[in-house]
Amino acid sequence: MRAAVLGTGQTHHRTRRTDVSMAGLCREAIDRALEDAGVEWPQIDAVVLGKAPDLFEGVMMPELFLAQALGAAGRPLLRVHTAGSVGGATANVATTLVKAGVHRRVLAVAFEKQSESNAMWALSIQPPFTAPIGAGAGGYFAPHIRAYIRRSHAPGHIGALVAVKDRRNGALNPYAHLRQPDITLESVRSSAMLWDPVRYDETCPSSDGACAVVIGDQAAAEASERPVAWIRATAMRTEPTFFAGKDHVNPRAGAEAARALWQAAGITDPLEEVDVAEIYVPFSWFEPMWLENLGFAEPGQGWKLVESGETRIGGRLPVNPSGGVLCSNPIGASGMLRFAEAAMQVMGRAGEHQVTGARTALGHAYGGGSQFFSMWVVSSS
């Protein structure tokens, strides 16, 4: 059974969306997705909800109190949780329900309302019998970025190049949280060092936001009056957070998920055959790292695509034309935003950040300690 993205929707992402509740935030994305898909509520068969750790909002199992606002009354509702990759995993679960022939149209929605607490605090809880050395996601990933730089001999400005590109791309995206058309390499490189080697401007913001997609089966897709994004393949893989010999720079689960994805999609040369990629890059250096992990470049070579400008809009493989996680990071929704933006590109509905002629696009997300990976490939035909 084939499946396609019929429509996408997202919120205006901001540091604090105090104008809406969690339900209102989700509905802002859902209502836009339904409108974009040209689908009415009675046509939705099931709802899949994703979000990251419940400690971020301090609501255990938010699917309980959100069920009704999400339109789940009288329908199946599933909650998905795979840390930062959850938005992608949620879209993949919805796709599976359609591909399996269980449902015709499934609504997938993911959100985070970071302003309700403080993610840095929530990710640095110190259990008894441990030393007080946790320092949030930045403290976790910075050493692995250092290891990448050492291993690849990448020049020091590569991370800043990614930051400049993504922030300028974000300025083309009306929904982006950070829109910085005037950012420069010099301004990034002179911004505060937070978690050496990660600077302030190379770090994602904390955002409130949500994203939704409507996934339909072949009949639903063919009934759509607007272009759809055909889901050619999905893949997910997991590995332990820590094990002896774990490659934190080029994790095995990510590489294996990518291999499975390309194979299922019939893609033999990803750099040649993929027109645009939305990759989960919360710290700028992860762009070259994931380009290698995904097979767009050989190990140690990903930074060369960045340096030569090939990942800009107009380059050989535009990466994160939406501005990516570096511009908007409602954590639970960030993965689904990557998936939705990939779909928007092949549907020709990406507005000012549209990549001309995009026919095949990757959506990618990762979560935990580079532990959960989810991805999909969508095409215009």
Partner: protein, 317 residues
């Protein structure tokens, strides 16, 4: 036989800030004025607390109507031992209360004094909090209806409530695994304990069920308190709950004889001189203070030995 696993309390808390959105903002603002608002959905029903979205039509709910501060108990139970954070600190009834004018029941506490004063059909009324701020706690609780007149609702000209602070406190007992307990007890004796996986023969510190092979510990080995920095981060950013003052260096340290690094602090040289491959040694606190904690090691210090070659630790990055 092993001593029982170590356990200790873990208490976490945060004052969460709830954005209310248009419907709940009006509801909370109403409570501040001693008014209860319900939402009317397309089928004519009035919901208290108000729904933000119509469960049938899915449309946003916009019509809010006032209901009475009196109502009827539809069902109930009794608690003899109230918990911290509950509306009352003495035995009380939990009740589903249908307010006059509403079509759905509200769960709240009834200060009935004794269990035998609670019954289905009991008429109750809101006891308003003396100080109201636009919070669900503005309803202190319910009490059996005396029939006395209520003080007038007090429309105020203060700004509408848009954010409600909700303190959440969680109290756990954190219990370590048998492996980790042995590791911690060895630390209290100044030893670093690891385990060699019987399948892959890798040495894990602390010991644990091998995450790669899924087999439990059989052979425990003591590892050295010297090692090599594989990689590290200089933390410059302050954050809530932080226990160290930035800047400080958190490094991954591959102890000699181990196959997986442990994270710890590097002290004893400027942060910008810490290097991948640097040789370091544990600095133990005064043995008199040792307990079952990795904090017995205050930090690691450079030994002054030549750096380890990259090839010696590249498989551990």
């Amino acid at each position: 036989m092993d001593a029982p696993p170590l356990s200790a309390p873990l208490n976490i808390g945060f004052d969460y800030t709830r954005s209310l959105g248009p419907v709940l903002s009006r509801f909370m603002t109403g409570l501040r004025e001693r008014r209860v608002l319900g939402s009317r959905t397309a089928d004519g029903r009035v919901h208290v607390p108000p729904l933000e979205y119509d469960p049938v039509t899915h449309a946003p709910v916009t019509e809010l109507v006032g209901v009475r501060p009196t109502g009827t108990v539809r069902s109930w139970t009794w608690t003899d031992r109230p918990l911290d954070g509950q509306p009352l600190d003495r035995p009380f009834g939990w009740a589903l209360i249908l307010l006059d004018g509403a079509d759905t029941a509200l769960l709240h506490a009834v200060d009935a004094g004794a269990r035998d004063r609670m019954h289905t059909g009991l008429r109750v009324r809101i006891r308003w909090a003396a100080q109201r701020s636009g919070h669900i706690r503005d309803i202190e609780c319910f009490e059996p209806d005396s029939g006395e007149p209520f003080p007038q609702a007090e429309p105020d000209s203060a700004e509408p409530v848009t954010v409600m602070t909700t303190p959440i406190r969680l109290s756990y007992t954190h219990t370590t695994s048998a492996d980790e307990s042995r590791y911690l007890r060895a630390l209290a004796e100044g030893r670093l304990l690891g385990q060699r996986c019987p399948v892959c023969h890798k040495v894990y510190v602390p010991p644990r069920v091998c995450p790669a092979d899924g087999v439990p510990t059989q052979e425990e080995v003591t590892v050295h308190d010297h090692g090599t920095v594989t990689t590290f981060c200089v933390v410059n950013v302050p954050f809530a709950g932080q226990r160290l003052e930035p800047p400080y260096v958190v490094a991954q340290i591959l102890l000699d004889g181990a196959d997986i690094p442990i994270p710890h602090l590097i002290v004893g040289l400027p942060a910008d001189q810490v290097r991948m491959g640097m040789r370091v040694a544990a600095v133990w606190r005064d043995p008199q203070s040792w307990t079952t904690t990795p904090e017995n090691i205050a930090h690691f210090r450079p030994t002054g030995e030549p750096d380890s070659p990259y090839e010696s630790y590249r498989e551990h990055l």
